[in-house]
Symmetry: C2
Subunit: 326 residues, 2 copies
């Protein structure tokens, strides 16, 4: 699999355009005032399955030859990628095998089941997940679609930034959250290709700052003990995402847990949109003036909006519980 | 004050266009499937101050002559109209005197104060509010801007539906919530003028169904004991809104409290937007198939998105508390 380039992102955009939403870009004067910048929010929380993940999963599924696709696709994920792959596979009419930890919440199980995903449960460890996934693939012949360490997935995620630049024109900076790095890698390729003078910033929680550490070290440092409510950002970089980030991302900034929660709430209150903690991370970096954004035009990828409305992080006790679960 | 007509709404649209947002229209496939219709949501929750109320208040404030405006404006409201009038007055550089019941929540007081409104508190009864407002007006010389029983306010609210028709073209039906009737009156004038074949439906809570009762009786029946979480819809029709509704609104439908709460939550979960209970009322009518919408193109005015994020109605006990407060 060759690393994705701008052409791959353009092809991905063509491939997914009849199925994925061209999500709107919103602005908010009161957040502009706090950040002292002009912010353009790319609302991937309005994307199908409620997150940008649908772009990458769909591009991967639609990139398969008929022969590769005939036994379906498989992944391990308890989050948005699981739902995204299930829906993408259903659109192509093939099965999606999803390996999930047995402690996944009811909400997440029902979401995957609702899109027709076939679930296999395993112990909640990375070793068990990978072992179980290998077994499922051996038994079914399904094609692996990794949540982020996959060039087709990275290219799909990059379509979000390409659209954003089409929608709002020149930007001084684009900022996206960093977990496994699939989103920020695709964003970086799109932005560097279309608008080379635009700075590309990754934002991550202080409690899961493996991207920052990896860039400083010059090699991947695994995230062994992530401590953040931003459950989409607990993964480690992969060998396909790290080199792209190393080459194209100008800076990685980190934010605290209280800042993530306060920012998430501020976005709900001021913009009247539902975003998940991971999506609040780049916004928090801007509101806390972590990235030299003053006076500039900034694109922000709001990565998703899937939250349990019974357990919001500003409710008493919820933050603690969320932080201890991975 | 003459009753507003289509020309008044067009003038209002011109008057407010540099200050009010042209709010986006969103769609949602999963809600379309439940309603068996094509729904176009006019997102007034994204309007300034988080509600359509800014349109009417601003049109009223900008309609005043310099002489009328010189001593400021006044109203009684604890809700979105208070914030809307405060912001509109600030934009014109005149004071806004807001009479609020002394039991208004901290959130609402802070919101009005944040827009520079000058608050006077009174006992939480309609008699006390009207008495206090008369006193404030006598003392200050401010111009009254009623929350809904005012032709300039009605014309301003109607701009929401005029925009909606411009944005999405022909609609078979437009549905809006009914409280005091300012929104639905303005919407009805705009829709009847621009698209005479479009049906105009008002939606209200079963526990505050004074519009339905008033239309059946042929005269205004006051809402003496509203019992609904939709705090924007507890008012009675006024002598300026009732005749417009009587003449132009085709039907009033009602929905239960559980339906309002479940619909509010469904909109948050599926559309990833924050709406207040009042805004859920017309959506609930569609999801519960109360208005012969099947297969049709329906415009829905989402009236606002101001909620206390610490006290959501699906949290245990909150619904009870909210229902007992007026």
């Amino acid at each position: 699999m060759t690393p994705p380039d701008l052409a791959a992102i353009r092809q991905a955009a063509q491939r997914i355009r009849h199925y994925a939403h061209r999500t709107p870009v919103l602005t908010c004067e009161s957040l502009n005032r706090i950040a002292d910048a002009r912010l353009f929010f790319k609302c991937e929380n309005f994307q199908k399955v409620g997150a940008f993940k649908f772009r990458g999963a769909l591009n991967a599924v639609l990139s398969l030859t008929d022969d590769e696709a005939k036994h379906g696709v498989a992944t391990h994920s308890s989050g948005n990628h699981a739902q995204a792959l299930a829906l993408a596979a259903r659109l192509r009419g093939i099965p999606a095998y999803i390996v999930m930890p047995e402690n996944s919440s009811r909400v997440k199980r029902e979401a995957v089941a609702g899109y027709g995903g076939r679930m296999t449960f395993c112990a909640p460890t990375l070793v068990a997940r990978e072992h179980t996934l290998r077994r499922v693939i051996a038994e079914t012949g399904a094609a692996l679609v990794h949540p982020y360490n996959d060039s087709r997935v990275i290219a799909g995620q990059g379509t979000s930034a390409m659209e954003l630049l089409e929608q709002v024109g020149d930007l001084d900076m684009v900022i996206a959250p960093v977990g496994g790095g699939g989103l920020v890698s695709g964003v970086a390729i799109a932005v560097a290709g279309v608008s080379p003078s635009t700075r590309i910033i990754g934002a991550e929680p202080e409690g899961a700052d493996d991207a920052l550490q990896s860039l400083r070290a010059g090699h991947i440092i695994a995230q062994l003990d992530p401590r953040t409510i931003a459950d989409g950002l607990r993964a480690s970089l992969g060998d396909r995402t790290f080199p792209i980030i190393h080459a194209l991302v100008h800076d990685i900034v980190t934010v605290s847990e209280p800042a993530i929660i306060a920012t998430m709430r501020a976005v709900w209150e001021r913009m009247k949109i539902v975003i998940e903690p991971s999506a609040a991370v780049p916004v928090a970096a801007l509101l806390e003036k972590k990235c030299d954004a003053e006076g500039k035009r900034i694109g922000v990828i709001l990565s998703g909006g899937n939250v349990d409305l019974d357990r919001l992080p500003w409710m008493q006790g919820v933050g603690q519980v969320a932080r201890s679960a991975t």
